[in-house]
Amino acid sequence: MKTAARYETGLDKFNRIGTVTNWGFHLVFILLALLCLIPVLVVLSISLTGEESIRNDGYSLFPKAFSGEAYQYIAQQGQMITRALGVSVLVTALGTVLGVVLTTSMGYVLSRPNYKLKGLLTWIVFIPMVFNGGLVSSYYINSNMLGLKDTVWALILPLAVSSFNVIICKTFFRSTIPDALIESAEIDGAGQLRIYCSIVLPISLPVLATIGLFLCFAYWNDWFQSMLYIDNQNLYSLQALLNSLMSNVDALARNASSMGISYAELVATMPKESARMAVAIVIVIPVAIAYPFFQKYFISGLTIGAVKG
């Protein structure tokens, strides 16, 4: 409200673009906004269209024959979709917590100016930013040596830490937590773990939120780790499920036997096209609802990162 009032002062009002230009700009942004929104609505529309109608008329922006059969079908399929949802939620939750702990603890240690091994650890964080082992050796080490192949940990561990996030944390701690605060706690006899848990973390909620959100979206949206390491379909996340459905939609009939009909029968009768898009919608809905509220934490993280990359 305050900013709106300030905006109306004489000079600001005088120094504005003309009304016509203003509407021109509005038009450009409305078009761009629709360009970003409509493709998602198309997917939603397909998921709500009857299979018969898709077969005859193809995809369209508005459902020609409205039908909820796709959602009904994936709900009936139960096991497959709830499993995938469970894997996605578990990986996202565990990964975010683990990632935040690993990232902030390192960030805190690097932010202590008198720490003896600061130089060494700074290099350990810095080197991976410029050099990495590449996909092939990472793949063999993770699957062969660390035994992560076909485990949930393959989806969690490799994404837990990024040097970018560690540096955001370090910069935040360095600039917002007064040294005097930590020194006084040290004088009172608090150990570093205690200082980190009960002083640093509680007053650093904004940066925790930023890092947590980055991780949360990264885990929820990840499909690459699944594609590399997961062969067991019971460990498919929603993204991995959609990925496999994009190349082979018949995989949706995997549970045929549990539904008491033959595989061939199910493949012939199930709503393929719309069910596939329904899975996409199940992925998108939580993201689309959540991100407008958390946008400001994202923006603060991105701008810190850009200033001090």
Partner: protein
């Protein structure tokens, strides 16, 4: 002021705090060793005749040295050159568009009379950034599918012939560039908008009093003050010129073989070689990417340090 001797004492004596901080950093350090540093040493397999079966370590140690044979195979195949061309070519276009479009839009959105509308537009344009490439691939499919896609329905509606989009390489550079810009728009604008909102409003007040038009204000105040950020973003992007967004080039063209020559970048090639068990070539490609990537990043960082020392990585 620290006295010199005081500082020296601090630097030499190991305190309990140091032990505690080391323990606190230990889990993350172990993570870095396992997931970042071990793979770096694993790069030696590019120079070896590596077998897939059996334990990784014993394989690395026992497999035979082959010198540069893997690289010879890689560069003798036509693939390598096509893929390097694609990687560098697409990245150059992405760098230019990824700066020009968000900068222009950020300049425009700040001028809207209604700040609230600007926020709404910005939020909507941020949506694609939060979608995974698998979802984007489904979206693109719903437009470009041969028999059901919206674009072909539109074409047949106009009386034109439908196009088998996933078989026609000539359209794909445009599609891929479009998708990249589309997905990165919201992200790109954030950084530049933050810079614009950070500019002291008295500059503009002074300019208005001197009779500067809006255009002149943008040209002579806003853009010069954004120059540093733009240069930084440019250099950082150049530093990553050997890396591409795997999802864009793998998911969006749906791994179509007809599109190999226009849609395969280094990351996609490495993945394909890895999956087809041509490990020697895959490790050679990955090695080339890691080394070239490292050199360009260091070079970019060196340039950054000359432009603005505070923004350099080290």
């Amino acid at each position: 002021m620290d006295t010199k001797s005081g500082r020296k004492r601090l630097r030499t004596r190991w305190r309990t705090q140091d032990t505690e901080l080391t323990l606190l950093a230990l889990p993350t350090t172990v993570w870095y060793i396992l997931f970042c540093f071990l793979p770096m040493f694993g790069l030696v397999i590019a120079f070896k005749d590596f077998k897939i079966h059996g334990g990784f370590l014993s394989n690395v140690i026992h497999s035979e040295w082959t010198g540069f044979k893997n690289f010879e195979f890689l560069f003798k195949s036509n693939d390598a050159w096509v893929v390097i061309r694609n990687t560098l070519g697409y990245n150059m276009i992405f760098i230019v568009l990824g700066i020009a479009i968000p900068v222009i839009l950020a300049l425009m959105i700040g001028q809207l009379h209604s700040g609230k509308a600007g926020k709404i537009y910005q939020t909507m344009m941020f949506l694609p950034y939060f979608l995974s490439w698998v979802v984007v691939s489904a979206i693109v499919w719903s437009f470009l599918s041969f028999d059901k896609g919206i674009v072909n329905q539109f074409l047949t509606g106009l009386g034109a012939d439908p196009v088998n989009w996933y078989m026609e390489p000539k359209y794909w550079p445009y599609f891929l560039i479009f998708m990249n810009v589309w997905k990165g728009l919201g992200y790109g604008m954030v950084v530049y908008l933050a810079t614009i909102t950070g500019i002291d409003s008295t500059y503009y007040e002074a300019a208005v009093i001197d009779g500067a038009s809006k255009w002149q204000q943008a040209r002579f105040i806003t853009l010069p003050l954004m120059k540093l950020v733009i240069v930084m973003m440019f250099i950082l992007a150049v530093g990553r010129i050997f890396y591409t967004d795997f999802g864009l080039f793998f998911q969006v063209p749906r791994d179509s073989n007809s599109l190999f020559t226009v849609a395969t970048t280094i990351d996609v090639l490495v993945y394909k070689q890895l999956k087809t068990a041509t490990v020697g070539m895959a490790s050679a490609s990955a090695f080339v990417q890691s080394v070239m990537g490292c050199l360009t990043i260091l070079l970019a960082n060196w340039v950054v340090r000359r432009v603005d020392p505070d923004s350099a990585m080290m």
